[in-house]
């Protein structure tokens, strides 16, 4: 039911030019993070958010690409071609296991809404930068989904990610 409602199996292109299916290749059986971005973001918070997520990736070390997959979806697919996204990722020092994705404008818009990067206020919703602050995280097989601000402290984001791994130990506080 979650798959039907939220995860259309759209064809997307990675920053490395690979064609992938959203559900089959990116989400299915994985622990993931999802955020939306665009390389020409004029909002001053966008580069800070990217830098913060790079810190998250560093803290997660080689788990990214092995049992955690990070995905960033562009809000401006017309401009953000695979090569533009690749330059952007390189500029920020993005490591392996973190994939930037683009696709047909209609598909990217559909994906944004399906994944709830959307606001009830249509004026707010029309601002692209308003969709760049949220980091969704989830474990597809366990159906565990939540979100946190992408600008949360990197250590706190990493701790939140640890909650996705199913029953483990109680938290010492």
């Amino acid at each position: 039911m979650i798959r039907d409602r939220y995860f259309p199996n759209l064809v997307l292109t990675t920053h490395e030019g690979r064609r992938v299916r959203f559900y089959d290749d990116l989400i299915k059986d994985r622990i993931v993070t999802i955020n939306f971005m665009y390389t020409q973001c004029e909002d001053g918070r966008c580069p800070l958010t990217m830098a913060n997520l790079v810190r998250v990736q560093k803290l997660l070390k080689d788990r990214v690409g092995r049992d955690i997959f990070m995905y960033s979806f562009t809000l401006t697919p017309d401009h953000d071609t695979p090569s533009v996204l690749k330059k952007y990722a390189t500029a920020y020092g993005v490591g392996p296991g973190w994939t930037f994705l683009t696709g047909k404008p209609g598909d990217m818009e559909r994906l944004r809404r399906k994944l709830g990067f959307a606001w009830a206020n249509p004026i707010k919703d029309a601002k692209k930068a308003s969709h760049t602050g949220n980091l969704r995280y989830g474990n597809e097989p366990l159906q565990l989904w939540s979100a946190c601000p992408a600008m949360s402290r990197p250590e706190w984001i990493v701790e939140s990610m640890s909650w996705l791994e199913g029953p483990k130990v109680d938290r010492a506080s």
Binding site: M1, P122, P149
Partner: protein, 611 residues
């Protein structure tokens, strides 16, 4: 027609949304058509919802039809809301966490020897099959079952009712037997908060004190009046701090909205020598449980195709349902006798604001008055006659309704506050009588019985309000702090920062008083702000003192309804216990998206004014 109206409206709303999306209207176009306000949100017109921008059909709530008013309201009176009963716990509870036996607690009880528990309870969290309506399939919900796992009792939603008394400390051993498979939403890792309890931190159900499947957690509830550890109220505490209607609910960080929506909530009533539960004694309030009925209001959404409970996982604004449950049943019926009753109303969320009226569909122009006796579940100094009560998420109000004038008639508790999306009810539009949501039918067809309860019209006095810096100039707040609640495109912030459970923003000095100003920085949202440990009194809202009419905002509360663009100043004490506590928005979607902070109470406080 009544029954189908909700679904018809949803259908109209859906069509309207599609039209707007297809038309690709600009903001100016919407303005011209009168469909948008200067604040930027869409005006509800013929069911049009502000969720137009969401576009996806499947993200709007359009539950299957259900018949209304055919199932009885579950109540402790009828034995259909179970009441907790003591058990023998093995191994015996200890002050230190019993890690070896599988306890998830990591901090020793701080008041275990001061207030040794006199009664011991078990409660088991697990999945179970529950009916919410005869017209929908059985739902697999998560709930609390009376007793230990081996007692194998069924869950109930709401969970079992605790009947507690001041001066009688209790200990609840809380077992997590939830399944790993969550059926689509919910996190089987839990922490149970006793909402408004004057509770030591380690038993409070702090969002980050969660425990996992197969483990248990001993929660010690001293049931003691605030102020017991310092003069002038030592050693018994201040009777004017007595609380009446509390509730408990899951508080798991980042997953609270899902877990509470899935069923993890229940009532906890506190009685004492004045609020006795016996109308022949004390304040003479209607006797429990015969004439004293708790009501938990929760709106839900059910999948159109499967009829199963649906939670919109990826919603950031707040979630509204189109089915109105009371004590777990969709639009139930309550039969009463023509006499006075005490109802304890609770808005259990996740995001809806209500304004309840008593409606007689045959006399729509009538103003059916009743008596409000509490705000925040804490008795007011005296009853206040009202026509309606507004509640935001987690707020409670106790009311007394006299059904004697309505003998033989049928009334409804009707929500007439219009709300079109999960952000709040910013415009405060009150729908006409009979045009809102009829959430509970009350049939006054019971036998005539004696009524020894106090007549609120005679002006009985309950507890006085404890002093504040306004009522007593010698009472000085140690620190004045300001908190701005804002929206930051992807999470909600307090003072421009997000939640971090590992770092307290500030430390309050134990046994001190503070003055807090809460500011909602915009007109696009409403936030019910909840503070743990002790209730507060509002000193001013938008520059004016709190009111007794038409909406009651005086009294002792633990949730401040921070409406659009509002600013409120509170007086609050932090007494008797130390440790970590949160302040957060109780729109559980906002709470799960970082509108929360941690503060600590310790021997030495700081003086950060904008922490």
């Amino acid at each position: 027609m009544l029954i189908l109206r909700g679904n018809t409206l949803a259908e109209i709303a859906r069509r309207n949304r599609q039209e707007i999306i297809k038309a690709g209207l600009s903001r100016r176009d919407l303005f011209k058509l009168g469909l948008i306000t200067s604040g930027g949100y869409l005006v509800a017109k013929k069911g049009l919802s502000a969720r137009a921008s969401y576009a996806d059909d499947n993200e709007t709530c359009s539950s299957p039809p259900t018949r209304a008013f055919i199932e009885l309201l579950p109540t402790p009176r009828d034995g259909t809301m179970p009441i907790q009963t003591p058990v023998t716990l093995n191994p015996t509870p200890t002050a230190a966490p019993n890690t070896a036996a599988g306890e998830g607690r990591t901090i020793a009880h701080q008041a275990f020897t001061t207030f040794p528990p006199k009664k011991f309870y078990g409660v088991t969290q697990k999945a179970g099959q529950v009916s919410v309506s005869p017209d929908l399939p059985l739902q697999t919900l998560w709930g609390y079952a009376v007793g230990t796992p081996s007692m194998n009792n069924p869950i109930s939603v709401p969970g079992p009712l605790y009947v507690a008394r001041y001066g009688e400390p209790i200990l609840v051993r809380n077992f997590n037997q939830l399944p790993t498979n969550n059926g689509g939403f919910g996190k089987p890792s839990v922490t149970t908060h006793l909402h408004n309890g004057h509770t030591p931190s380690e038993s409070d159900g702090n969002p980050i004190d969660f425990f996992e499947i197969g483990h248990f957690y001993d929660q010690h509830y001293p049931n003691v009046l605030a102020g017991f550890s310092t003069q002038p109220f030592a050693p018994t505490g201040d009777i004017n701090e007595a609380m009446s209607t509390l509730w408990y609910h899951d508080h798991r960080v980042d997953f609270t909205s899902q877990n509470v929506y899935k069923g993890l909530a229940g009532f906890y009533l506190l009685f004492d020598q004045f609020d006795t539960g016996d109308e022949g004694t004390g304040f003479h309030l209607p006797s429990f449980p015969k004439f004293d009925i708790p009501m938990m209001f929760a709106d839900k959404c059910f999948d159109r195709r499967t009829g199963l409970l649906f939670f919109d996982l990826f919603n950031l604004d707040g979630i509204l349902g189109d089915k109105f449950t009371v004590n777990g049943k969709i639009q139930p019926v309550l039969h009463v006798s023509p006499r006075r009753y005490r109802f304890r109303w609770l808005d259990a969320g996740p995001s809806r604001f209500y304004q309840f009226f008593l409606t007689d569909l045959n006399h729509l122009s009538a103003h059916n008055l009743f008596w409000q006796i509490s705000t925040g579940g804490n008795l007011l100094p005296k009853p206040i006659q009202v026509e309606s009560i507004r509640l935001s998420v987690a707020e409670r109000a106790d009311v007394i309704v006299d059904f004697a004038p309505f003998a033989g008639r049928t009334l409804y508790i009707e929500n007439r506050l219009q709300q079109t999306d999960g952000r709040g009810a910013m415009d405060h539009v009150i729908l006409g009588a009979g045009r809102g949501n009829l959430v509970l039918q009350i049939v006054v067809d019971g036998p005539t019985v004696a009524d020894n309860s106090v007549n609120p019209a005679t002006g009985p006095q309950f507890y006085s309000l404890p002093s504040t810096s306004v009522t007593d100039p010698t009472v000085k707040p140690r620190v004045k702090r300001t908190f701005v609640f804002s929206d930051s495109d992807g999470g909600w912030q307090i003072n421009e920062r997000f939640f971090d459970g590992n770092h307290p923003r500030f430390t309050v000095q134990e046994n001190s008083a503070e003055q807090w100003t809460l500011i909602n920085d915009g007109g696009d949202w409403e936030h019910p702000i909840h503070i743990h440990l002790e209730e507060f009194q509002t000193l001013s809202i938008n520059g004016r003192p709190p009111a007794a009419s038409p909406l009651v905002t005086i009294g002792r509360q633990d949730v401040l309804r921070l409406e659009a663009d509002a600013q409120a100043t509170l007086f609050i004490r932090f007494r008797d216990f130390q440790g970590k506590y949160p302040m957060h928005c109780h729109n559980t979607i906002h709470e799960d998206h970082a509108m929360m902070l941690r503060f600590d109470v310790g021997p030495l406080g700081d003086t950060k004014q904008s922490p």
